[in-house]
Structures are given as structure tokens and as C-alpha cells.
């Protein structure tokens, strides 16, 4: 019954979390650490050509070199920074756009909500990958274009969720009570709506991040995402894929890095969703 501090609550939750979620959380932290410390951890410069093309594993190059002679391990470490960083930036932007639009739609209602929802319906009727490819055809594959395009596409999905969760809260009587007090739009959104939808939105953030991360990786793999010479996991797979047909699996390492992070995030989300749905009774 006594109010608990957030920190204590978090520690208690963590110690009670299932194996998969604890592993997931630890992995996410490890990735974050590698991303931040990339220049310290990496043996060479990000774009530095240090050896022969496709040099085999050696003490100098623990994972060999890539198609133009850059150190694989270095590129892998810098990839944590670039690939994850861009995905994080994009999903944050998408989240901001989508949830603000969604909450506004719910709180304002009426024609505003209807028009916004129709627009989102139409945008969502185009498959995300196709929409992205269309836009990138003309805008070119600059980082800004990439981030903005994918953020907008993904924001439509966030909008849908924010609107539906928000609408469920909007019909509750405490919102009526606020309206009857004459509260303004700002108060209703920030004080009444937002605190009640933070939890489902947080879980959704994890899922959106996974999606955006996989999505950008796929685009990069197709050669339409992050452009060389930036070290990026998706592009690394593409550049070195030829090695696989010779039975060398080093090109799969960046793909594995992508997969492991997404699994880790999904495990956390899965636990979070079950945890928070269990609390609601």
C-alpha cells in the first residue's frame, strides 16, 4: 500500500523478471555500451583501409577484412553506433510525431480526428517498404531523407496505437469530470490522457524500435539505406555476402548482431507487456 520509489520498484521488477527478459535487458545495455565506447574499443579507424581485400582471420584482424580491406571487427563495433543510433533516432522521431498526432486527434475529436485518420489509413494502405523505396528513389539516399521518410511511415503505426489507446481513456468519466471543470486541451492531454497511456506506449516503443531497426537494416542490405563508407551492419552483409558461398560465415556476424539486439528488445517488450497487463485488474 505504501508508495514505492520508482527505483525500488524497478529493481524489484527486474529481480522478478523471467530469464529471457533479464538476458534481454543485459544485452541491450551491452549494445549501448559498445555504441558509446566504439572509438575506444575498435582497433582501427571506422573507414580505414588496413589490409588486403578479404584477408582471413589473423591476430591483426580478429575477424578478417572486408571487400576493400577494412577491419571487420572495427566495422562491426562502429556499426553498433551507426545502425542502432540511426534506428533509435528514427523511432524517437516517429514516436514523437505519431503520439502527438494521435493524442491531439483523440482530444480534439470531431472532423479533425476524422480527416487525420483517413490520411493515415491511406498512408498505411501502402506497404512500408514500397513507400520507402518510392520516396528514396527521388530524394536520394541521404541520412536525413532516410530518417525522415521512415519516421513518417512508421509514425502512422504509432498514431493508430496512440489514438486507439487514447480513445479508450478518453471515454472514461474522469475525462468528463475534467471537461466539466472547464479544463483546456493542454491539461487534458498532458495531465489526464498522457499518464494513462504511457505504459502501452512504452511497450509499443520497443516494438517500433525493433521494426524500424530491421527495416533500416533491410534497406541498407538492399543498398538503399545508410551509404558507404559508413560502417553499418545491413550494408556489411551486402558487401561481403559473396564470402558465404565459399563457406565463410563472417558476413553473417553483422546480421547476427542485428538479430540478437532485436531478440533482446523483443524479450524485454514481451515481458513488459505481460507484466503491465497483469497489473491491470
Amino acid at each position: 500500500m505504501r508508495p514505492m520509489t520508482t527505483a525500488r520498484l524497478a529493481i524489484r521488477s527486474f529481480s522478478r523478471a523471467p530469464m529471457s527478459a533479464r538476458m534481454g535487458l543485459m544485452l541491450v545495455f551491452t549494445y549501448a555500451l559498445v555504441a558509446v565506447l566504439a572509438p575506444v574499443l575498435a582497433p582501427y579507424g571506422e573507414t580505414e583501409i588496413v589490409g588486403a581485400e578479404y584477408a582471413p582471420l589473423s591476430s591483426n584482424f580478429p575477424l578478417g577484412t572486408d571487400n576493400i580491406g577494412r577491419d571487420m571487427l572495427t566495422r562491426l563495433i562502429y556499426g553498433a553506433r551507426n545502425s542502432v543510433g540511426i534506428a533509435l533516432l528514427t523511432s524517437c522521431l516517429s514516436f514523437l510525431l505519431g503520439s502527438i498526432a494521435g493524442l491531439l486527434a483523440v482530444a480534439v475529436g470531431g472532423r479533425f480526428e476524422m480527416i487525420l485518420s483517413r490520411v493515415v489509413d491511406v498512408l498505411m494502405a501502402v506497404p512500408a517498404l514500397i513507400a520507402a523505396l518510392m520516396v528514396l528513389t527521388i530524394s536520394g539516399t541521404s541520412v536525413v531523407a532516410l530518417v525522415v521518410t521512415i519516421a513518417v511511415i512508421d509514425a502512422t503505426r504509432v498514431y493508430r496505437l496512440a489514438r486507439s489507446v487514447g480513445a479508450n481513456v478518453m471515454v472514461l468519466d474522469f475525462i468528463r469530470a475534467a471537461e466539466l471543470r472547464g479544463e483546456g486541451l493542454r491539461w487534458i492531454i498532458i495531465r489526464e490522457l498522457l499518464p494513462n497511456i504511457v505504459q502501452p506506449l512504452a511497450a509499443e516503443f520497443g516494438m517500433r524500435f525493433s521494426f524500424v531497426f530491421l527495416f533500416i537494416s533491410s534497406l541498407s542490405f538492399l543498398g538503399l539505406g545508410l551509404q558507404p563508407p559508413t560502417a553499418d551492419w545491413g550494408s556489411m552483409v551486402r558487401e561481403n555476402a559473396i564470402l558465404i558461398s565459399f563457406g565463410n560465415i563472417t558476413p553473417l556476424l553483422p546480421a547476427l548482431a542485428i538479430a540478437v539486439l532485436t531478440v533482446a528488445v523483443n524479450f524485454c517488450v514481451d515481458w513488459f507487456v505481460q507484466h503491465s497487463s497483469g497489473l491491470k485488474d
Binding site: D173, F174, E179, G182, E183
Partner: protein
Amino acid sequence: MTDPAPQTEAPLLLDIRDLWIEAVGEDGVKPIVKGISLHLRPGEVLGLIGESGAGKSTLGLAAMGYARPGCRITRGSIRFKGQELLGLTETQLTALRGRCIAYVAQSAAAAFNPAHRLIDQITETAIRSSRISRDQAESRARDLLRRMHFNDPDAIGRRYPHQVSGGQLQRLMTAMAMVADPDIIIFDEPTTALDVTTQIGVLASIREVIRDLGKAAIYITHDLALVAQMADRIKVLRYGSEVEEAPTRVMLSDPREDYTRSLWAVRRFRKTNDGALKAEAPVLEIRQMSAGYGNRTVIQDIDLAVGARETLAIVGESGSGKSTTAQVICGLLAPSNGALEFQGAPLSPDRKGRSRQQLRDIQMVFQMPDTALNPRQRVRDIVGRPVELFLGLRGKQKDDRVGDILSMIGMEPGKFIDRFPHELSGGQKQRIAIARALVCEPKLVICDEVTSSLDQLVAEEILMLLDRTRKALGLSYVFVSHDLETVRAIADRVVVMSNGRIVEQGATDSIFASPENEYTRLLLASVPEMNADWLTRRLSEFTEIDVGPNFPPI
């Protein structure tokens, strides 16, 4: 019902001993039935009564060897005709359910499968378990439906669940339970979801059919007056334990335990009349008001006035337009026609057009305290926000004000001011909602079914609180309710609504003593009384009570 002369010689049909059932929740395992015993003889009806959380439904289901997901029976014995049910395999239990012990659920609308015709669902158990032909089963079902006052059993049987009304579904489910000729039927709040005028017909046909066919039954409800009509014996439960058990008439006239007596006493609260009414100008007047949603008109030509310091009740069944009227007064729903006047000045029909003073003067308390309080705010903020907004007080001054009102509603400020809603009980939440409405000293408070989600004892306290605060603060209440007993207890004047119109209004005493309108009479006659002979008497007096289900033609 019939005089309690239990056939002590007859063998026990059902014998439950020292039953324990646990529920697995987020914070561990919790017992919800704690060592209850009960027994049932052929042809006998046992009433199980208790407030929410008493474990009565869980116990009813356990009689069929069934535990809901998340629950498990841990200890005890359940014997049906001498056979122990605990430890039987799922297949053995399946063979028993429906054929030997049948179940009638609270919400018939949800308990029927939307994909199949009613007749197929009604006959299913009989065909599957009794090994009789479809034709035999259907003719048995037709016979039962006729007994339940369906004039055209074939026509109703061809329908799908969503094509018939709630009252009809409840009767159909009773027929479904009877069709395989079980020994025991468990009724789990079968009329709770129904309006009173519908309820009386369903009650009558349930009672008739179990009596005629000599079935034993367990009748579960939270409503004392109802169980008094149906049961030979009553068992009172609380928090998963037995309080007491006695034959119906003994239980009604001479309950042993304090808890039972307190349940009985609920029915006895009446507000004291303070006389000083009527003379003053009305606080609120509504003239020729019509309103609706989209093209559908819900209320029409409503004229009413609320006097100063009076409690006006608006009473009616579902769909009568009583809640819509409340919403129009608050400005939540724009009327299509008519005018509002508050303290002699015109009141904008839209809340956005009302002055700050008017918003402060007219407050609302909602039906469900669970959704009326923001779960992410503390009591301090929930009650304090109007103080901030309307009185401009902050910090210490605001907290003092909140503390004052909390003391007034009987909640110790130091203990409750920092709590979140989920740290309060249902009744406490409703108190906080009332505190929020009262904290800025309004002139008029609209109460929309404020006691209907609460247990009787708690509801009683809320009624007393409302009456006390009305006197202390000199304000007026508009009390919207479907529950005539509650209305009778709290209101000075009553407005009766039906199908969106006012059919009658007047002083509470005169409406209850000598109703003039036919619908009002029917409504009053349908409210169960705490008297075991009420239903019998009522049915003989009132021929117009709808016992037969006149379902609409396709």
C-alpha cells in the same frame, strides 16, 4: 415459499464439505472460498447470498466440479448423489455437467454462442448426453419453452441469440438448463442484468418451472428480496466464509448474526424530512427539452425544476432517458430543443458556453468510481484541482481545503491525501468523487447512479453521506437511479421517466403511496419486497405484468 419442512429423510443430492478454493493472482495465491459446507436435497432451493467477493459464484461453479481459470479447488469434498466429484477426470465431469447439474449464467447475451440457432443450443446437451434423438429433444424443448410462456416455441428457436431480448434470453437459458432433465440447476444471478419490470416475469417463470418439475436448485444473488422469493433455505456468505444459514422465513424474521442484520437494516434508511422546501425559487429549470444522439431522439419534451436544498430523483429503466437528461443538465450533450435556466439566469446548453462560476456551481458524480478518478493522480490532486481552478488556492491553503472536505466525508486527511485510487476501496473512491464535487461548494450536484456499482452496505453509507452534506452545505441534488428503493430513501421529489418522456412527477411519499400513472404503478409493483410471499401476491394482483415474452415479429 412453501413452508420450511425440509424432507430430512430424503437422501442428500449434493453434499459439499469444508471446501477450499484458491485464486492465483499477481501477488500470490489467495483463498476465495474458505471451508464452506453446503447440502441440497431433492426438490429444494438453496439461496446463496453475499456481497461482491463473498465467493458465491465460485462456490456455485464448484458444485459442478468446475473452477475458473486461475482458480483451483485445494481441499474438501463435493459429493453428488454420494459420488465424489473431486478427483474425477475431465471426461467424467463433462458427462455429469448439463445432464446431472446444469448452470444458468448471469449474462445470457454473452453465454449464448452467436453462431448457432437457439434451438440447436438448447437441445445440444440433451442430444449429446442423454442419447435421445434430435426430434425428441426438440419436442422436449418446445414443451419447456411453452412452460416458460413462449407462445411460439418454433419461431423463437429458429432465431439467433442477438435477435431476441435480454429477458427472453434469460428464460431461454433456463430452458437450456432444464432440457437434459438435470437433478440440480445452479442459477448465478440470473436476473441481475435485467430491468425490474422484466425481472418479475423471468423470476415468475423460473420459479414456476423448477417447482412444477420438482428440481433442486442453488440460487445465487446479492439481492435479499429476490432470494426470499426463490429459496427454501438461505445461506449468507462473506469474504469466502459462511456467516449463517437458516430457512428463508426464519432468516428474514430472525437473523442471528450482526452481519446479516446489517444487510437487512440497509433497507430501513430513510432521509429525515427537513420541511424547509418548496417556498424558494428553483435552482434549475428545464423547459421543453429534447435531445438525442445522431438522428435518434432519446428524451423528448422534458420539463422539470429542481428546488433549492432539495433532492430530486429521476427514476426509470434502461433506455428511459434518465442519464441523457443528466448529461444535458451538465452540458455534456447538446439538446436539440428547449431551454435551461440556472438560478434565474439562462444556462448555455454547451458546457463551453458556461461561465466559470456556473461550472463551479454545477457538479457531477458518476456511476463508476473506478473510471471517475484518474488512476494516475493522488487524492490530493484529484480533489485539489477544482480548488486550484475555481478558488485559486495553492500549496498549503489548497491542502487545508482538501483536508477539510476529506474530514467532512469521513476520511482522515493524513491517511488518505497521498493515496492513489487503486489504494482505495470502491466505497472510498466514490467518497473521493463526492469530495471532488463538493469541495468548491456547488449549488447543484448531479448524481448519476452513484450507488449502483457498490455493495448494499457501502451504498447505504454513501446515501447517508449525500443527505448529510446536502443539509450541511445547503445544496440540491439531482439523483438519477434505476433503483426505486434507493430513490425512496433519498429523494424529496421523484420524476418517473419512460421511453424518453416524463410520465409522472411529484413528492416522493405521494408517488410511492398512490401512483397515478399506469407505468409508475407497474414499476413500483415490480420492486421485490423483503417478504417471502411478495412474488406470489404480486402475480395474483397484477395481471398486466408481462409474464409472456412477446418477442417482436421478424
